[in-house]
């Protein structure tokens, strides 16, 4: 199972996905993120990540020193292209 990230303007293509086994790496980050954004990151539901959310996730990933991670690079790319992401949970 995986959590899929799509571009809100082009939903036909999955831009990035995080599988269950990989997801455990980000549990802490998601926990902190959810504290700030009222449980927005729901891996079993669908939600949107706007610029401010993406920025905060990047910040958190930087704090945890996971800059080499593909997820971090993907978020940077989304941020640079001013994209709003649609996340489809399990």
């Amino acid at each position: 199972m995986s959590v899929n990230f799509l571009d809100i303007d082009n939903k036909s293509q999955i831009l990035f996905n995080i599988s269950d086994s990989e997801f455990s790496k980000f549990e802490n980050i998601i926990k902190i993120f959810n504290k700030k954004y009222d449980n927005l990151f729901d891996i079993y539901g669908d939600f949107r990540l706007y610029q401010n959310h993406i920025n905060y996730l990047i910040e958190l990933l930087e704090q945890q020193n996971v800059k080499e991670d593909l997820f971090y690079r993907f978020l940077l790319m989304a941020n640079n292209n001013n994209k709003t992401l649609l996340v489809i949970g399990n």
Binding site: S2, N4, I14, Y44, G45, N90
Partner: protein, 309 residues
């Protein structure tokens, strides 16, 4: 008991049997000999199952030996039982087995279904959460709740239509009574007409309100089932999601996972139940099952097959 219809329309009993609880035939007086013929409808005896030449009853998935009170074969759902050869947990008075896989309690099932239906109807009108409070976790109960939600959605829609009609009639009546009053002398006639129309408008508004509440609540309650059905059952949507190989087994798998999980993880407002089965349950060879339950509402948020850890 087997019977046929005579030419004159009367019923003729062609075979009658009495059984001991586990299915052994009770030998009676000579004049009431039980019939046995190969390939005849009179062979359908204990529990309506066909008696074979071997002396065993054919239950579909397994052959039952009434003399030994046990099954000939191993339970196909062997991982869920401690005694894979026992017939209905050795309790044939209370339970039956419809197809040789698992015992069922017919009376309890009917009651569970009715209970689920009634509670979900009450919930949809009052906005309460009785269905979760009294949830017994059975498939029949869930079926009842689902039927209740669907029925109250339709009933809510009908109420809204009737309410709308009442408001329309009431308004027309109100205008007409106004007309009668304005033509002079019609005050007395127009007065009661206006009261009647006012009443109709009020009842129409109430009906629309209640209908709206019922439709909203039932649509919310139906939503959870949709999530799993859309993503993990429907083959056309969400191709990247894992799918149940046999969608009809979804509810049974959910119940087994929640009742007897291998691993339970608390995730804030939710509880994650995981169970690994000894057979494949997903289309991509998944053998493990995950069910996420909302703690407060007691509802299943989602469930899906997953690869065993």
């Amino acid at each position: 008991m087997s019977y046929k219809k005579e030419a004159n329309g009367e019923l003729d009993i062609t075979d009658s049997n009495d059984f001991y609880p586990f299915g052994m035939n009770f030998v009676r007086d000579a004049e009431e000999n039980a019939y046995f013929g190969t390939g005849s409808y009179t062979n359908y005896k204990y529990n309506g199952k066909e008696l074979q030449e071997t002396g065993m009853y054919d239950y579909g998935w397994r052959q039952y030996m009434p003399d030994a009170a046990r099954w000939m074969q191993l339970d196909p759902l062997v991982e869920d039982t401690e005694d894979p050869y026992a017939y209905v947990f050795n309790n044939p008075i209370k339970l039956t087995d419809p197809d040789g896989r698992a015992p069922e309690d017919g009376i309890e099932e009917c009651c569970s279904n009715l209970k689920g239906f009634t509670l979900s109807m009450v919930d949809n009108v009052t906005g309460g959460n009785l269905t979760q409070k009294y949830n017994d976790g059975s498939a029949a109960y869930n079926d009842g709740v689902l039927t209740g939600n669907a029925t109250s959605f339709i009933a809510g829609g009908l109420l809204m239509v009737t309410g709308c009609g009442d408001i329309g009639t009431g308004s027309t009546g109100l205008i007409a009574s106004g007309g009668v009053s304005s033509t002079g002398g019609g005050v007395v006639v127009g007065g009661p007409g206006a009261v009647l129309s006012g009443g109709l408008i009020l009842s129409g508004t109430l009906k629309m309100g209640l209908g709206g509440v019922m439709m909203y609540n039932s649509s919310q309650n139906l939503k959870n089932t949709k999530h799993t059905d859309n993503r993990h059952v429907d083959r056309t949507k969400y191709p990247e999601k894992s799918k149940y190989s046999k969608p009809a087994q979804k509810e049974k798998l959910q119940q087994r996972t929640v009742k007897n999980p291998d691993k339970v993880t608390e995730q804030g407002k939710r509880t994650k139940y995981e169970k690994t089965f000894k057979r494949v349950i997903g289309t991509k060879g998944e053998t493990s099952h995950r069910v996420i339950v909302d703690k407060k509402k007691g509802k299943i948020v989602t469930s899906f097959p997953q690869k065993a850890n």
